[in-house]
């Protein structure tokens, strides 16, 4: 690694006024550093280098700015660097403000950086605070949902950013504002075919928002109507009975016979998890039963090949067709589980996970055996 003297020299090259070829070489070198763990470790100890890099993102040379953004993306992927990256109080507000500019070239890079920074709770809180001070979550959603907001950036990574932010209860609270129409604008994106990143981000956001059972009635009401948007990616072209069809939400009726289900298994799993969360309250369970979620889940289960996703589906089905819990236990999220029972349940969960993995392995082995 570089000595302190060499580091200081490097720093002197990283100013806006430096000769372009020197700047380019310096940034190239640091880009190489940022790709390795040791390099990142080194940079962690040099906050002034990091600050200089941020400043250079405004360089007139597109190539230099791009490299700097690339470096910061690499750094942000490493959690140990998060504190260094956000310690300079000016950094986040500047980045967030730049997102508002519909002509900014590097908005996608900013989205990726922010998405990385918000992965873990601590820095996520810092980012959210900075967001709310100026730009605001509502504006972020607005930009995200406006088709072609930025001609040079697709802003798909705002999806995962939102998903990460909603791990914080305060972010969820802001997003699910009943007086505004912010949350509702995200819903159609569960069907957005052009980007799995965007789609996955939105589904993750919706799933996180389903954690707060006090909002379930609102989510299931006409004001939001989250259910069809969660079910549509899981529904297939199979024909259901007349009775089942009539009870379905409008968006799921008379689907064409070339209807495809969600291709990404992780997204499918998140959709099922969101649905399962909505069954926590008695009212939620009733709503899901009334809207014929069971037939959709049933057909889905017949189609699903991934063991983990299947398991999630089974959990949902069990609640939908199971008996109602005794009085006092209707809200599954508020039931008190005695310690020994909790321990047993954890053991069973671990066991189930093991079995699932075994099953997965067995299936892939069978497949390779057959492929011969």
């Amino acid at each position: 690694m570089l000595s302190d003297g060499e580091a200081a020299e490097l720093l002197s090259f990283l100013t806006l006024g430096t000769r372009p070829d020197v700047k380019a070489k310096a940034t190239e070198y640091i880009l190489g550093l940022s790709a390795s763990r040791e390099g990142c470790c080194f940079l962690r100890s040099k906050p002034d280098l990091v600050s200089a890099l941020f400043a250079l993102t405004s360089d007139i040379s597109v190539a230099i700015a791009k490299d700097c953004y690339h470096i910061i993306i690499n750094l942000s992927a490493d959690e140990t660097l998060h504190q260094v990256l956000v310690s300079d109080g000016k950094v986040l507000p500047v980045l967030l403000k730049k997102l508002l500019d519909p002509d900014y070239l590097f908005s996608d890079q900013i989205c990726t950086i922010l998405s990385n920074l918000t992965r873990h709770e601590r820095t996520c809180k810092t980012v959210f605070k900075a967001l709310q001070e100026d730009v605001g979550l509502a504006k972020l959603v607005d930009i995200f949902c406006t088709e072609g907001y930025n001609a040079k950036a697709n802003l798909h990574y705002l999806g995962p950013l939102l998903s990460n932010l909603t791990q914080l209860p305060e972010a969820r609270h802001t997003l699910m504002d009943r007086d505004r129409c912010v949350f509702q604008r995200l819903l159609p994106f569960t069907q957005y075919q052009a980007s799995v990143i965007r789609r996955g981000g939105v589904v993750g956001t919706l799933r996180n928002c389903c954690f707060d059972h006090t909002n379930h009635l609102w989510l299931l009401s006409d004001a939001v109507d989250i259910l069809p948007f969660l079910l549509l990616p899981l529904a297939g072209p199979e024909e259901l009975t007349e009775e089942e069809n009539e009870g379905l939400p409008v968006d799921l009726q008379y689907l064409p016979d070339d209807k495809k289900r969600e291709a990404d298994p992780d997204i499918r799993k998140m959709l099922l998890e969101a649905l399962l969360l909505l069954t926590a309250t008695r009212a939620g369970r009733k709503a899901l039963r009334d809207k014929k979620v069971y037939p959709i889940a049933r057909e889905f289960h017949l189609w699903e090949k991934d063991v983990h996703v299947s398991a999630a589906c089974e959990k949902l089905v069990q609640v939908l067709i199971g008996d109602e819990p005794e009085p006092g236990m209707e809200n599954l999220m508020e039931v008190e589980i005695p310690e020994d029972v909790e321990k047993k349940l954890k053991e069973l969960d671990a066991q189930e996970q093991e079995e699932l993995e075994k099953e997965e392995k067995r299936r892939s082995e069978t497949r390779t055996a057959c492929a011969k």
């Binding site: 007086d179 505004r180 509702q184 004001a223 109507d225 409008v250 689907l255 064409p256």
Partner: protein, 396 residues
């Protein structure tokens, strides 16, 4: 007259009052007409007259001319007209309100705020009259001169919903919600528009599925008919070309696609295929001897003629059969066909015990207007002989 001071009184009030002691008051309202008279006085009017005739309502005409005095600035005139329009609006007299607002807009006063309000109010008037297009245009115009004008945005969205243009309604709502993020009405309208949009999409899908199903059923039916070698003719003039060409039968199929196998009968019965795959035809029995006919709505192809004739003639002979000879066992079924390149008329005779399917075998068996027709005559009767004379007879 100079005012005389009389102690406490001023301007001759006392004198005036004293007059009543001696003179009789003239031109008083009578009991009969006092309400009408009161109604003429502007201050006591309950409702304004539709037209203000200066002769009958001089005071009103006076007031009007003060209000609409052209000496005042355009803004003032426009404002007065706006107030007038608003008053009409309150009375639900929307047509008049529109006239007032239009008049106000014509003043072209520079106050854009006022103009936006005028356009929005006129939009509301049109809305209540059911003129959705005009209302929408006015709302759009209002929005143009004052973007973010809440009432215009709400009205525009409402018009779009009424016109069933739900996508546009959503656009209006979203535009409005950008400025007025917490407006409840806009939120509600958006939810409504979204709901209707999705319902309309469902309806479109439903129609498509239904059409596909019908199409499939029709295809299956036509295939079944084609497989039996049956030729279909539309009710128009038949082609004079050769009959068995591919083109003609597919043209006939095409025609079926268009106007269906609709028979000319009022019943609108049509050939159909049952679960066992058997065709059931609507069939006409013609009795030229008595100029009568019978219509059988569903003649299964595996039925024989006798069964159906028994139904018609078995129990009781029809009233038109004056000679009482149309007993089933006396009857014969015929079909006329034309042979091209030969000017004669050919007749095909079949026994009543034959099934309908037997007729398919005849390679000139046509079905006209989706309804096979057969002539029924009494065997060996004089009419029978007469009918057949001059025609070439063939047995089926």
């Amino acid at each position: 007259m100079a005012a005389e001071t009389h102690g406490d009184s001023d301007d001759g009030m006392d004198e005036f009052m004293d007059k009543f002691k001696t003179q009789r008051y003239k031109n008083a309202f009578s009991e009969k007409n006092w309400e009408q008279e009161f109604n003429k006085i502007p201050m006591f009017m309950k409702t304004a007259p539709e037209e203000i005739d200066p002769k009958n309502y001089p005071e009103l005409a006076c007031l009007q001319s003060i209000i609409h005095d052209d000496d005042r600035s355009p803004e003032e005139q426009a404002k007065s007209l706006k107030d007038e329009g608003n008053a009409f609006f309150k009375e639900k007299n929307y047509k008049k309100a529109i006239i007032s607002y239009t008049g106000a807009l014509k003043k072209k006063c520079g106050d854009q705020e006022l103009n936006a309000v005028l356009l929005t109010n006129r939009a509301a008037s049109h809305f209540h009259l059911g003129n959705m297009r005009s209302a929408l245009n006015d709302a759009a115009a209002a929005k143009k001169i004052k973007p973010g004008h809440l009432k215009a945005l709400i009205r525009g969205a409402q018009c779009c919903i009424e016109l069933r243009n739900f996508s546009e309604a959503l656009q209006w709502c979203d535009e409005g919600l950008k400025e007025h993020t917490t407006d409840e009405k806009l939120r509600e309208l958006r939810a409504t528009a979204d709901k209707h949009k999705r319902a309309a999409e469902r309806d479109a899908r439903k129609a498509k599925v239904k059409q596909k199903k019908l199409h499939g059923e029709k295809e299956a039916l036509l295939t079944a008919i084609q497989n039996r070698g049956i030729k279909l003719l539309q009710s128009k003039k038949p082609h004079l070309k050769g009959s068995e060409s591919e083109d003609e039968s597919s043209a006939a199929m095409e025609q079926l696609r268009l106007d269906g196998l609709s028979s000319q009968e009022v019943t609108g019965a049509q050939v159909f295929q049952d679960e066992k795959g058997l065709l059931h035809w609507p069939v006409l029995f013609l009795y030229p001897e008595h100029q009568q006919s019978d219509f059988i709505s569903a003649f299964c192809e595996n039925d024989c003629f006798r069964d159906h004739l028994n139904v018609m003639f078995g129990e009781e002979l029809p009233p038109w059969d004056t000679d009482r000879k149309y007993a089933p066992h006396n009857l014969q079924v015929l079909c006329i066909f034309f042979q091209y390149f030969y000017n004669g008329v050919n007749v095909l005779i079949a026994d009543v015990c034959y099934l309908l399917t037997r007729w398919y075998l005849f390679n000139r068996f046509f079905v006209k207007a989706g309804t096979p027709s057969f002539i029924v005559l009494v065997k060996d009767s004089s009419f029978f002989k007469q009918f057949l004379s001059g025609k070439t007879i063939r047995d089926l």
